[in-house]
């Protein structure tokens, strides 16, 4: 076995230039890579890792307004803050659970629809036609726009008496008689979702577009020669080839959307109605309104654990399927 495979193996090694690998690729005991990494590591530690550890510690303290200025004096209360968070009979616990539910539905719908729109647009722009470059630039614009200008514009569109949405619905299409409120009540969730999709799908479009460039034309030509139509090519060539991109893309979109703070914060001007109270904004408001940072930190830690759990499950699931294939 070894004797029969050795000549091609030798060829492969020569082909990739392994015998002449530059010295830099050989592992050697050098301080240099660590020195090059040092600034990045220090910054990540200082701004992300240390505050996270401090946050975990804060969740064990009674860190109310009396102790904010000098929080070394805050009493240690163990898991009391977590008890409040998980106590569904208390107002804080019930509100957190409601906010969590809203966030889950919001994330599933926003990520799903954004992915569908992004993939559709990328596939339809795959082959050259007149105006393609213009459309591509247009589709990427919502992603490039600063969040707050985009969302503030939507706030204007959703105004009850002066906004475009009600003007079209009531005056131009006549679909409803009374102009509905969009930024309070049940509709606020729909409004939030629309804005979120408007801002998110261009990123899915960008990633899928990049992924499509790695699919060789020959695959499509072979499929077309076998008589495969548009849907068949999409199902048998495009989507399987996009799988690696989609795996990462969906995870990133999930995490970003679940943690979304900016969209509801700007859309509703600081405090969202209960129907659209996403979890990040909820923690933010309950922390800074009551100045109870202990409970806020406990909520953040629970949120992080939940996200880690989902991410780990997702990675395990997708890895196992890849190994089966």
């Amino acid at each position: 076995m070894t004797t029969t495979t050795s000549p091609p193996a030798a060829d492969r090694a020569a082909g990739t230039g392994r015998p002449t690998r530059p010295a830099a690729r050989r592992p050697r005991r050098s301080l240099l890579p660590y020195l090059l990494l040092a600034p990045a590591v220090v910054l990540e530690l200082a701004i992300h890792v240390v505050p996270m550890l401090v946050g975990a510690w804060m969740s064990l303290l009674e860190l109310t307004q009396f102790h904010i200025r000098d929080w070394s004096g805050a009493p240690f209360v163990g898991l009391d803050n977590y008890r409040v968070v998980f106590d569904l009979d208390s107002a804080a616990g019930a509100e957190l659970l409601r906010s969590f539910r809203v966030t889950v539905v919001y994330t599933v719908l926003s990520v799903g629809l954004s992915w569908v729109l992004g993939t559709t647009a990328a596939v339809l722009l795959q082959r050259p036609f007149r105006g393609r470059a213009v459309l591509r630039a247009l589709f990427l614009t919502p992603y490039a726009l600063p969040v707050y200008t985009a969302v503030i514009t939507w706030t204007f569109l959703f105004q009850r008496d002066t906004g475009l949405v009600n003007h079209v619905l009531v005056d131009q299409l006549g679909l409803v008689d009374e102009p509905p409120f969009w930024l309070i009540g049940d509709n606020s969730f729909v409004a939030l979702l629309i804005v979120s999709i408007w801002r998110t799908w261009p990123f899915a479009f960008l990633c899928v577009m990049a992924g499509l460039q790695n699919i060789p034309d020959e695959l499509y030509e072979a499929a077309a020669m076998d008589g495969a139509g548009f849907w068949r090519r999409l199902r048998s060539v495009t989507l399987p080839m996009l799988r690696p991109v989609n795996l990462v893309l969906l995870l990133v979109l999930f995490l970003w959307t679940f943690n979304d703070f900016n969209t509801p914060y700007v859309l509703f001007g600081g405090s969202a109605p209960a129907e659209a109270d996403l979890i990040s904004l909820h923690i933010y408001r309950s922390s800074f309104q009551t100045w109870d940072f202990g409970t806020g930190s406990a909520m953040s830690v629970v949120l992080l654990l939940f996200l880690l759990l989902v991410t780990a499950g997702y990675l395990l699931l997708t890895n196992r399927r890849r190994n089966d294939a």
Partner: protein
């Protein structure tokens, strides 16, 4: 592989709908900026009946927009320059060296990108406030604090994208330079970086955009003096009045430069994403 008539028709219909969805808010931003205040406070009209540039004049005095703009410019540019510099060194190490901890570094850095901002907002706020009280180093309510915070936000993605770019540069070039006696740093500056200019520019724009658009930390870590556009633009809605035409005018002014920069460099982003995804 010719398109059938039905396929062409449905492609046009779908693309037109998508374009409409994207365009409507952009159109409203532009057209409302050109309306006088009474017209944006009354019933909505598609077309500005009495177009005027007055909002672009008034917006500077309704809120201190000039100061916000200057703060945002300072914070975003300095954060972008530092972020990219730090990312270049880190990406060079990851791309050109095999060392213990390389994998751990890559995974850890990328995963911090995924953590909820709220998780380290509260502790960071307290750390900045207490550090200021204890040592007099003003990070809370200062542009410096904001710069340091923002530069870590764009760092993970910048490193990841630059590693992809550096990997695509043939190592033969490094070797040639090393044969000529260049050390690692000279190789980086004279060989690798010049070949990766598009990637570096794209990453700089990304880092700038990240800082330019950040809302959550800006809303907590700034005061009136250090306020950036992200928070400052909310000043147009007062208790009594919302100056929608000025909000739209200001939004337009602060959006156009970043959108133009991004669109001009979009193909380098696509190339960077492709290079990163291939690994």
């Amino acid at each position: 592989m010719r398109e059938t008539a039905a396929e062409r028709l449905s492609r046009r219909v779908v693309l037109t709908l998508l374009a409409g969805f994207v365009l409507v808010p952009l159109y409203v931003m532009v057209s409302s900026a050109l309306k006088p205040l009474q017209d944006v406070q009354g019933a909505f009209t598609w077309w500005p009946r009495r177009p005027t540039g007055q909002a672009f004049v008034d917006m500077w005095s309704t809120v201190p927009l000039g100061r916000y703009l200057l703060n945002s410019l300072l914070v975003a540019s300095v954060a972008a320059i530092f972020s990219v510099s730090v990312a270049i060194f880190a990406a060079y190490a990851v791309s050109r060296y095999r060392f213990r901890g390389r994998q751990v570094f890559s995974v850890t850095v990328l995963s911090t990108q995924m953590f909820p901002g709220i998780l380290f907002l509260l502790p960071l706020f307290l750390i900045y406030v207490n550090l200021g009280n204890a040592t007099g180093i003003a990070l809370y309510a200062s542009r410096t604090g904001l710069i340091i915070t923002y530069l870590t936000f764009s760092l993970p993605f910048s490193i990841w994208m630059l590693v992809g770019y550096f990997d695509s540069i043939p190592r033969g070039l490094d070797e040639a330079a090393q044969v000529d006696g260049a050390g690692p740093l000279r190789t980086l500056f004279q060989v690798v970086l010049p070949a990766a200019v598009p990637g570096v520019v794209a990453v700089t724009v990304y880092a700038f955009m990240t800082a330019w658009g950040e809302v959550l930390f800006a809303s907590v870590l700034t005061n009136e003096d250090s306020r950036t556009l992200a928070v400052g633009l909310q000043g147009y809605s007062t208790q009594f009045n919302v100056y929608w035409n000025q909000v739209m005018a200001a939004s337009l002014v602060v959006s156009v430069p970043v959108v133009a920069g991004f669109l001009a460099l979009q193909r380098y982003f696509v190339a960077g994403l492709t290079a990163g995804a291939v690994k």
